[in-house]
Symmetry: C2
Subunit: 128 residues, 2 copies
DNA sequence: GCATATAGTATCCAAAATGATACTAATGGA
DNA sequence: TCCATTAGTATCATTTTGGATACTATATGC
C-alpha cells in the first residue's frame, strides 16, 4: 500500500494512519506473534514458513522504526537478535484481538489451512 | 498489499485476512465515512479530496464484493448511486473505532492537516 | 580443514497497486 | 444550442511491494 504523506482526511485520518503502520504484508502476523513474547529472528521465521528473510528483516525494521518493536542484539557468535514489542506495540493488543475475533466470526475459515476446529460449522461464509 | 491465497499462518491468520479486507489505500477512510450513513458517489469523493474517480470506484467495488458495502443504483438522469454499509460492514465498527482511537492517542497529530484540536498538546509523538 | 548455525545484505525481477488523463451518456437549464 | 451534472470506463505510466537467489562473517563441533 502506498504511503500518503499528507493525510487529506479531516475525520478518518487516524484510521488510515494506524492502518498504514500495521498494514504491511506480514506485520499483523508478526505483531500477533510477538504479543506472545520475545522471539528470535529464526523463531519468527519458523512461525511464518513462507516469509523470505528479506521480507522478515524488512517488516521487522519497519515495525522498529514505527516504535512498535524493540530489537535487541547480543554480540555473540552465532549472532542472537531478539525482538519484542515496545509499550507502544503492546498497546495495539486490543486492535489485533479485535481483528482476530472479527476474522474468526466473519470470514470463511476454510481459507486457513489448519486450525483446531474443522468439524464444527458455525462459521459464516462471506455471503451471509 | 499483495493477496495471499493460502494463509500459511496457524494462529494469526484471521488477523491478516481481516487486514486485507480493510487495508486498501482508501478503504479504512471509506468505511469510516460510511459508518455515518448512506453516501452518494460524489459525496464520498468530496470527503476524500485527493482520491481519483478510478480509485474511488475501484475501492468501493472491492468493498462491495467483500460484502461490506451495498451499492444501490437509481435509474435516473443524471445517475444516482448510493453506498451504504451492510450488516457485515457495520460489524467492523469496533475495529474502525479502535483504529481511530489508537491513532489519535499514539500518532503525532501534526501529520493531519486540519483537525479541531490544535491547541491542546496531550498527544504523544511517536518516539515516546 | 570443513560443514553448520545465525542473522542478516545485495541484486535483480515480477507483479500489484495507484495515479493521470481523457472519454462517455442522457437530461435539464440558460 | 451549449453547458453542467453524475457516475462512471478505458488506457497508459509510474510507484510500491514482494519474491528469488546468492552472498557474508565467525565461532563451534567433527
Amino acid at each position: 500500500m502506498a504511503k500518503h504523506e499528507s493525510y487529506d482526511c479531516v475525520a478518518g485520518c487516524p484510521v488510515e494512519a494506524t492502518l498504514e503502520l500495521i498494514g504491511g504484508k506480514w506485520k499483523g502476523l508478526l505483531l500477533y506473534h510477538l504479543l506472545e513474547g520475545t522471539q528470535r529472528f529464526n523463531a519468527l521465521k519458523r512461525m511464518l514458513p513462507n516469509i523470505t528473510q528479506r521480507m522478515l528483516t524488512n517488516q521487522l525494521r519497519e515495525l522498529e522504526s514505527a516504535g512498535l518493536v524493540h530489537r535487541q542484539v547480543y554480540a555473540e557468535v552465532p549472532p542472537r537478535v531478539e525482538y519484542s514489542l515496545t509499550e507502544h506495540g503492546r498497546s495495539l493488543a486490543p486492535i489485533l484481538n479485535a481483528l482476530k475475533t472479527w476474522g474468526e466470526q466473519h470470514l470463511d475459515r476454510s481459507t486457513c489451512s489448519q486450525d483446531s476446529a474443522s468439524g464444527t460449522a458455525e462459521q459464516a461464509s462471506i455471503g451471509a
